[in-house]
Subunit: 305 residues, 2 copies
Amino acid sequence: MTLKLAPGGIAWIDGEWKTLDEASISILDLGFTRSDVTYDVVHVWDGAFFRLGHHLDRFLRSTAILKMDIGRTREELAELLAECVRRTGLRRAYVAMVCTRGRPAPGSRDLRLCRNRLIAYALPFVWIGGDKAQKEGMSAIVPQFRRIPPESVDPTVKNYHWLDLERGQLEAYERGADTAILLGTDGNVTEGPGFNVFAVYGDRIVTPDRGVLEGITRSAVIDICRERGIPLEIGPIPEARFREADEIFLSSTAGGVMPVVRLDDRILFNGVPGPVTSRVRDLYWQRHADPRDLTPVAYLAEAAE
Amino acid sequence: MTLKLAPGGIAWIDGEWKTLDEASISILDLGFTRSDVTYDVVHVWDGAFFRLGHHLDRFLRSTAILKMDIGRTREELAELLAECVRRTGLRRAYVAMVCTRGRPAPGSRDLRLCRNRLIAYALPFVWIGGDKAQKEGMSAIVPQFRRIPPESVDPTVKNYHWLDLERGQLEAYERGADTAILLGTDGNVTEGPGFNVFAVYGDRIVTPDRGVLEGITRSAVIDICRERGIPLEIGPIPEARFREADEIFLSSTAGGVMPVVRLDDRILFNGVPGPVTSRVRDLYWQRHADPRDLTPVAYLAEAAE
């Protein structure tokens, strides 16, 4: 018997397979009503997971810190993610793993009595900012709201606390820009909606050390720079220093390395992606042919389309 | 034809009535994946909404600030909430209204293209901390994490950004306490999971002015104190000053006025609710007979049980 593929995407929720349109969680799950949830998203590129081990490590660390039980081993989780991709047949996809606190027992508010819920899903890869923004670069603003500080919510536990980022994005629309790069409450650059930030000074790259997600694409860029001898520093970027950058680029699973060509009213590098950004972006995509970072998906040989 | 009542609770989602077990939202709704959502909860006490107008005002202000469209008027919303209660037949209930950003269009990340989703539901009233904690008082700790500051997420827009509160609650369990009271990043007292905080010095009450939800129960306490001539100040409470309080109490729609009898290792008022707390609590519940604050629910006269 052949399985009918779901190229539009598929989800596994608590033991059941669903279409993406059917995939839902209870409105009483604390993963919704308290955003008590952690997640991770890995991408599949040309039929292979990119840096799957890094994503699994981060997700399992996050669930452990939040005292959640995903009810399966690392290997079983990896197999579940592969099965998601297999059932879509997609060669380029996002694959998400999510663990929610779950619903409290009726009449109770005790977090310890919640059964944690694991969700996994795969859907087609979408470029952040669209294809044009990828090639020609994006415009960004520094919005009013500051990124939630690590004293409040640990950013290394990947989370859905995005209202500061969402309001930054709404402000970006109002000001005619594509996206927003938030300062921290300490006045240093942090991150934006779904991406890490890099500033370039001459041939030297700097990326924030604090108050940011330790992004897997960020770590890939760091590894690439170290291996290639490109000077890279991980440290604070005060706002004034950021505004003097020769180039700025963003990194995200949902887009790779993305040039920023305008920051507020300032045009960077004559409005085109600069040479350091372009080089890092090329090296990042070259890296997708490096077997060290790839976990090929075992697709179904004779799946029905 | 008589309607079968749902005393366990009921939900209205996007035009359809559901049992609470069926009530769910898409895992791709940005209300989940970015916690891009606002909400409010009003309680029904002995058949009448308490301070319904205050809750409607706050919810409509919150949705406006987040640029969300609930697709109905204030009056229609009030009628929907009443219908939720009517269909449960509950005389004591929580009634929630929620608006999520919604799902982005396939292949898009544009927040402006999302259709916002309204949810309303009613469920039986549950005491925060349980009945015993209500009468005898609760124990609280000051946990490691600081409340998300207003520079990052506006606390007057009621939101589900609770990971700081959740981790405070997990720390409370570890340290053998009932709940957690968080400091802000500025070192002053803010709030806890689902409640505002009041400290009492002699006959004088203080409650934080900044970095907290403007709770409706908090506003009821403030109104009661003003009307009764009980001295109340709205201003900062530094941690050291808080630890010297004669009495501490909490306010929440989910429990009214709740005494705290232990803070970390310090026993307050010999471990029993103090006189100011007890007086305010009594006045708060007396207020539930005041027609100014009540909106009676028009129950179905001949509903099938």
